[in-house]
Subunit: 209 residues, 2 copies
């Protein structure tokens, strides 16, 4: 029984098309949200006729759901970095760093998320109420333990996570504003590294006794 390891031209064309549509959709949804996005603009950015787009993705909503699903996966992936260290400071620093890296590597994903929330989370609402809520409450328990052990100052863990999410995702969602405040240029790699370290240190100092 031989498995076709080498993709047929047909299959790789399909793969390539789906990828280019997917990428175009990400950028349009990130910029305009679900309602403001148009399939015509997505097709234009993908470099194909609109009818071809609808051959691969039946509806705008189906395409949007594909896009959001990936965003949630990436979020959870970064979230796992919180659990990889035992020490409180190390775990927090690793998590903030991972969230900063994700914001830098995939700002569109963060913006798609932000647009969803602004619209009342019609698609990812269920994820927020279940997966995210569970993730948060279990990590709150960990942070509370650290507080009890005197490793962190007394505080409400939930609002600390909000600060982490806000401060890190800001570098993706408000990239345009930062550009305007940076002489029209995006943050350089060097600038971003400084920002990343500062976010980590400021937040860590903010919760260390």
């Amino acid at each position: 029984m031989s498995v076709a390891v080498v993709k047929t031209p047909r299959a790789s064309v399909r793969e390539g098309r789906e990828k280019s549509i997917f990428d175009a959709a990400r950028s349009v949804f990130a910029e305009f949200g679900f309602k403001g996005a148009t399939t015509a603009e997505i097709a234009r950015r993908a470099g194909i006729p609109k009818a071809n787009l609808h051959y691969y993705f039946a509806t705008k909503e189906a395409l949007y759901r594909h896009v959001t699903a990936e965003v949630l996966t990436d979020w959870l992936s970064a979230a796992s970095s919180f659990d990889e260290k035992d020490d409180s400071a190390e775990a927090i620093a690793a998590y903030i760093g991972a969230k900063m890296d994700l914001a830098r590597a995939d700002p569109l994903g963060s913006r798609i998320w932000a647009n969803e929330i602004l619209r009342g989370a019609p698609v990812i609402g269920d994820f927020l109420e279940t997966t995210l809520a569970n993730w948060l409450s279990s990590r709150e328990a960990i942070v509370r333990r650290w507080i009890d052990q005197g490793k962190l100052v007394a505080m409400e863990p939930r609002y600390f996570f909000y600060m982490i999410w806000a401060s890190t995702q800001h570098y993706a969602d408000f990239e345009g504003q930062m550009m305007a405040l940076n002489g029209g240029k995006p943050l350089s790699d060097e600038q971003f590294e400084v920002a990343k370290i500062q976010v980590i240190e400021t937040l860590l100092r903010g919760v260390m006794p």
Copy 2:
């Protein structure tokens, strides 16, 4: 020369209509952004026919510009609280508190701003590059002085302001997410007060030597 202090019925009807259209527009723009918003939906929320809306505001863009102008005014108003104290900690605490209060009092304004940035700031871009950039660089100078005086830790002031903006505006822009993580209910006044104090204390501790 007598000035009409009491408004004529006509004038107050006009005032009321403009206000209700304005408020409806704020909520629709905050939820869907400029492109996703429709004049039909704004008219519906204002409780008037669409044609009547266009009698008061010629175009969707004109209405949007009115709305954004007010948002920028409110932002600057909150910004002034930074200058009302001489002591570094007091000035920072007052500013964060004012930004938290603004996010709580007018979440729609913050969301309209966020939508603008996500779309590349086509309307407020000029404000960002001039007024906001000037405000930021002059306050950076103040913070740098405090650092030189040993009142604050060494850091890049700009990224500290980004953290303040992110952490405070998060309470407006991501209110929907917080609700989902709070059993479907918005933050109570008591919860918000706790969050507000925690944001202030965490950020202050984060930059104090």
